[in-house]
Subunit: 706 residues, 2 copies
């Protein structure tokens, strides 16, 4: 029994012991597993080193107080953290700083995005759409990339335009006489909206606006517009206001901006691909999507965030589920110790949590791959542009296009799943999941906007799904061979039949067969969509929008499963058996079970198979994971500072920790509310008759009826 500072008249619960006991039965080393999850020992050590530093930094480290700040306090805290990060960025290697910001975002998503708008969206927009000179001028020489002098924001969305950026109505009219552009907000609908960082921090904005030259509208392109002078005062003609309250991310100073005939020099237009000469000659980009290339990095990071945020909350929920006991005595774990059963020993609780645990592993591996793909793509692209090699450029554009699809599919699917994971984990912690100090509530509010911004999930899903259908059609109708990451679509013709792929329970043991079933499902679903499109006559892609989103989700799982399977081969031997069970659990639950309606309706498998899967195979694997659940979550190596949850600390001392936090945040010394008068006067009010001055009484009636 642990010691206690209070007088007890009988034995208190001891959740800490339950967790420590399970930890002592680990079948692998969590540190080795962490290396697998992060891709290498080097990556793992980098992360631990950064945690080590951030835990001790009084500004950067988290606190339970973070859960009770009002908007101004949260913005202030975030500003102080950015200030502190501006010093780290001068010391860190680019890789260290990138990872530092990524780790910070797990417990402070507001600061994460507030700074990423500058270093990610703004800088990448200039890098992607600007000339080398423009990049050097605004980002390097001005030291914007060191969070110094200039600070950028990203003026894309408008009050009336979100997903359809091409429909933006802010105008940039070329004034040939003065060699200037006039930036203007023509009406309320074109007001720039949600512009993070613009309210209090940004000095510059990349503005997405319609290029109007000699009365002709060339569509949306990008301009650098200074917002504030070096005195940090707002420039004339620019109106900036506070967006106000949000569901979360209150630390971000989102603003609305209206431009009233603001003039900028012609060379403030970002002109890597798109140019306007002084005489008004217009050159347009080779691929319209390039205008949005700066969004790619954000989408990739949101997929990575999905892994880390899921890791955080599944760790909390698993620790709680091992420490918390409920109902049956001597049940489940069969200890015969007279204690109630651990939550995690209940099959239903395993079914609620273990699939998310397995999914988190799959996301770790898959999103790491996406991060690497993205880095390689940028490199390829830069090389091609700088060397002015047309062949290389064409190839780089293909890679970029492919990355648009992959990142769209992973960003949308993973952010949705992470949101569901937080919700399920919270509900699995019962009432205590609702406490601010468990961390779920605020983080869910902060998290969920990831499903909407920088590419609405439904819109991204539709775009990824469209690419799959279009490629499948190429194979089926034109015998084309597909290259790249979705090359399996080349098999579509062999797959679109009625043959069962998964026949018996034994087939489940071979994950490559499950993987094939997934590929067959994708091909058949795409083919079904092609039929719908063809029978509609007018090739209306909206008719298969729902199927497109489903295909995008399947494609994400295809990506995750493929990389998970291939990475296990090179894992440390001691971790392999567990990893194989995790990968199977992921494939059985997140893919086969969740898409069993599609698998059955397209005859990829049989009812008998699905019934066996659900009633027998899945429960067996959930139990395997449950037995190592503490070590599997310890392997994420997120310190208490990152978890920042009173019910999820490493020591497992749930009740003592939680009660201490509650008492510290709310000292129980004042028992009357400041508004107690309203309560007391209500409870002790005189009778209704008296308060009505007895005007409705029988006595009064007698007087008045005389």
């Amino acid at each position: 029994m642990f010691s206690s500072n209070t007088v007890n008249s009988s034995a208190p619960p001891n959740p800490s012991k339950s967790i420590q006991d399970e930890r002592s039965q680990n079948q692998f080393e969590p540190t080795l597993m962490h290396e697998f999850l992060e891709g290498s020992r080097e990556n793992s050590q980098q992360i631990l080193r950064l945690y080590h530093q951030m835990e001790r930094d009084p500004i950067l480290c988290s606190s339970y107080k973070d859960y009770e700040l009002n908007r101004l306090e949260e913005r202030t805290k975030s500003a102080l953290r950015i200030n502190s990060l501006s010093r780290y960025i001068e010391e860190d290697s680019p890789s260290d700083f990138h990872r530092r910001l990524n780790l910070l975002a797990v417990y402070d998503p507001s600061t994460g995005i507030r700074l990423s708008i500058n270093l990610g969206l703004f800088v990448n927009c200039i890098k992607g759409n600007g000339t080398a000179e423009q990049y050097k001028y605004w980002c390097v020489d001005k030291e914007t990339t060191k969070i110094k002098n200039a600070y950028g924001c990203f003026g894309m969305t408008e009050l009336g335009h979100g997903s359809n950026v091409a429909g933006c109505e802010t105008t940039a009219t070329f004034d040939e006489e003065n060699d200037q552009f006039i930036i203007d907000t023509p009406h309320i609908g074109a007001t720039k909206w949600w512009i993070g960082g613009a309210l209090h921090v940004a000095t510059h904005c990349v503005v997405y606006a319609r290029l109007i030259v000699k009365g002709k509208d060339y569509g949306v392109t990008t301009f650098v517009v200074p917002l504030r002078d070096s005195n940090h005062d707002v420039m004339p003609g620019i109106t900036i206001g506070d967006i106000g309250g949000k569901m979360g991310r209150e630390g971000v100073d989102n603003a609305w901006i209206q431009f009233s005939n603001v003039r900028i020099p012609r060379f403030f237009m970002l002109q890597r691909f798109c140019k306007v000469s002084s005489s008004g000659k217009v050159e347009l980009p080779p691929l319209q999507q390039l205008v949005y290339i700066s969004l790619l990095g954000g989408r990739v990071m949101m997929a990575v965030d999905s892994y880390r945020i899921s890791a955080r909350f599944i760790t909390i929920a698993v620790r709680y589920a091992v420490g918390r006991r409920q109902f049956k005595k001597n049940g489940g774990d069969g200890n015969g110790d007279g204690l109630e059963c651990k939550l995690l020993d209940y099959p239903l609780h395993q079914r609620r949590l273990m699939p998310y645990l397995a999914l988190t592993y799959a996301m770790a591996v898959g999103t790491k791959k996406l991060e690497n793909d993205h880095a390689a793509c940028l490199k390829e692209f830069d090389y091609a542009v700088n060397s002015n090699d047309k062949v290389a450029l064409k190839k780089a554009l293909e890679t970029t296009k492919s990355l648009f699809v992959d990142s769209a599919s992973l960003k949308s699917t993973c952010t949705w799943l992470a949101g569901e994971c937080i919700t399920e984990c919270r509900q699995a912690c019962g009432g205590h999941g609702y406490s601010a100090y468990s961390g779920f509530g605020k983080t869910y509010g902060d998290w969920t906007i990831q499903c909407t911004y920088e590419g609405d999930n439904s819109v991204l899903g539709m775009s990824a799904g469209k690419a799959i259908i279009a490629n499948t059609a190429q194979v089926i109708k034109k015998n084309k061979k597909i290259t790249g990451s979705i090359s399996f679509l080349s098999n579509a013709k062999n797959y679109i039949n009625d043959e069962l792929v998964l026949k018996s329970e034994d087939d489940l043991q071979d994950l490559s067969l499950v993987f094939k079933a997934l590929e067959v499902l994708i091909c058949r679903l795409a083919n079904q969509s092609i039929d719908v499109l063809e029978s509609s006559g007018d090739n209306n892609w909206d008719l298969v929008s729902y199927q497109r989103v489903v295909l995008s989700k399947l494609r994400c799982h295809h990506y995750l499963l493929q990389n998970f399977m291939s990475r296990i081969d090179s894992a440390d031997e001691s971790t392999k058996p567990m990893l194989k069970d995790v990968a199977k659990t992921y494939a059985y639950t997140s893919i086969l079970e969740n898409f069993s309606a599609e698998l059955l309706s397209l005859n990829v498998t049989s009812p008998k198979f699905i019934n066996r899967l659900k009633s027998s195979v899945i429960p067996t694997y959930l139990k395997k994971l449950r037995n190592q659940a503490i070590t599997l979550t310890d392997s994420f190596q997120q310190p208490d500072m990152v978890l920042n949850s009173a019910i999820g600390n490493y020591n497992g001392d749930i009740y003592e920790d939680y009660f201490k936090v509650v008492k510290q945040a709310n000292p129980p010394t004042q028992t009357k509310a400041p508004y107690s008068a309203a309560i007391e006067s209500m409870l002790n009010r005189p009778s209704k008759e008296e308060r009505e001055r007895f005007e409705k009484s029988a006595e009064t009636a007698k007087i008045l009826s005389k």
Copy 2:
């Protein structure tokens, strides 16, 4: 074009016109539809009359400021509203007040529950578990039912015990010598936790505690324990503290309570069913569940709340989806007006929202039935107890048991679905759904605890599902005939085979056949669970816990569909065609589509059928609803005050309204933040070398290396 107070250089969007245009094409009267939804013209008029009064009441009416209050402000506001309600309760009929509180909870869930804890949980606990004298003493004579003198809270959950109330560890030890009970919190785990109203308002608490007489533990029963004296000071031996921050419901003053040897007279034990004589003779209740009978009313109301909260947010999302335009010009509605397409004209958007619209109609009808069943049950029960009629009591206990199952199934399924509805509606409003002023964020945080408290949804779902499996087993194994609302289980033997129920698309037109398919599915799934149980050997119900929750959901839909179908027969003729389409849409999406994996794996229908359903039938019905979506949501008749959403007002003037609210709440006059110094000093900081006093420079190196 509407007039505008600002200077525009081109035409602004006009969402209001889009909405008004659709309204003018209504195929039925929303007022008549409202009468259907609320069960009668009388109910409808009662609600409109109450809205009329509440809208004008400066304390009771909502405000956008409600979205930006801190904890103390929200608690204060809630206290003022309770104070105001304490005057209405003296005037209102019981039915009016009940409905008033129910309507208020749609936009102020905190006040709703804060008062319901007193009037619902506390009073009902005394009524249900106390003698007639105890009820008269504490509730009537003290005027507690008029929110006067005494105010009760509900001391059930503990830090270490939530769902398993029977495991509570607070003790009530009988002291024969003094004819008293000693209430005590033996250790931290037994601290009463989450007790709403206890922190600042309550004068009394019904405490769930273990009855200990002569050293013997008789299990958990209920006691009335005074918390505060008439001076509103906390009694000695009682410690009350603030639970602190929560994900929502910040208006509720939840507390933790510790009792340290607090003495109460023996007759403070609620002794309708359970008695202890002065000599320590113990009498226990006929049905242990009766101890929790006070929870029934709350569960019923949470099912009703699910309807109203879904109605609120589907109204907002539909109005936004008609006013908002995106992408394709001249698309969807084929107006050829050069405008972008309305969101709701996209098939995917219809697929996201229309199923929830149809579900909300089904919930309206079904939960109204549950409300009536509950009222009838209470009446039956009271009669039986008061008349001391043993036969009537036995029958009443059967009805109560049945209501425990029905309410468990509906509370859990409907609160989950309402949570999903809020989330989907929010995401369907894109970025603006994330604004505090659209109402989604705060309400989601307030709402989601309904899935956990007063019966955790998973636990309730398992209990409802267990009843279905147990009854099915009675039919199959013992040829028993089932009575009551799940009498269809009596057909189980005829249903558990491999026969298809839904064969062709035509079968869909007959809703009674869809209804039969649902009954067959329930029987087959229950039978499958029986097989699992039998093959496990030890009758371990936990092995089918997942199936039990699925069965509970199916049973909820069975209840909703049955009542929806039967109510349409008596609907106004003008609303019938629409109602039939709504009922079909509900059955096709929420039941057939959502449970298609189960339907296929148990051979209730065929892959071909499901494929037709998804790709052709459902899109057709979604479009039917989409065409009347504005009128279908207008029919909920929730005024702007209840919606309290800047993007969902009746007039449809989304952008003007929203911008006005944002500007009023955050006047754009101050452009520098109070914390601007941190930002400015960061941006304008001297070089790193200078700040390091040039200590690392080459010059210094030269000096130091000498």
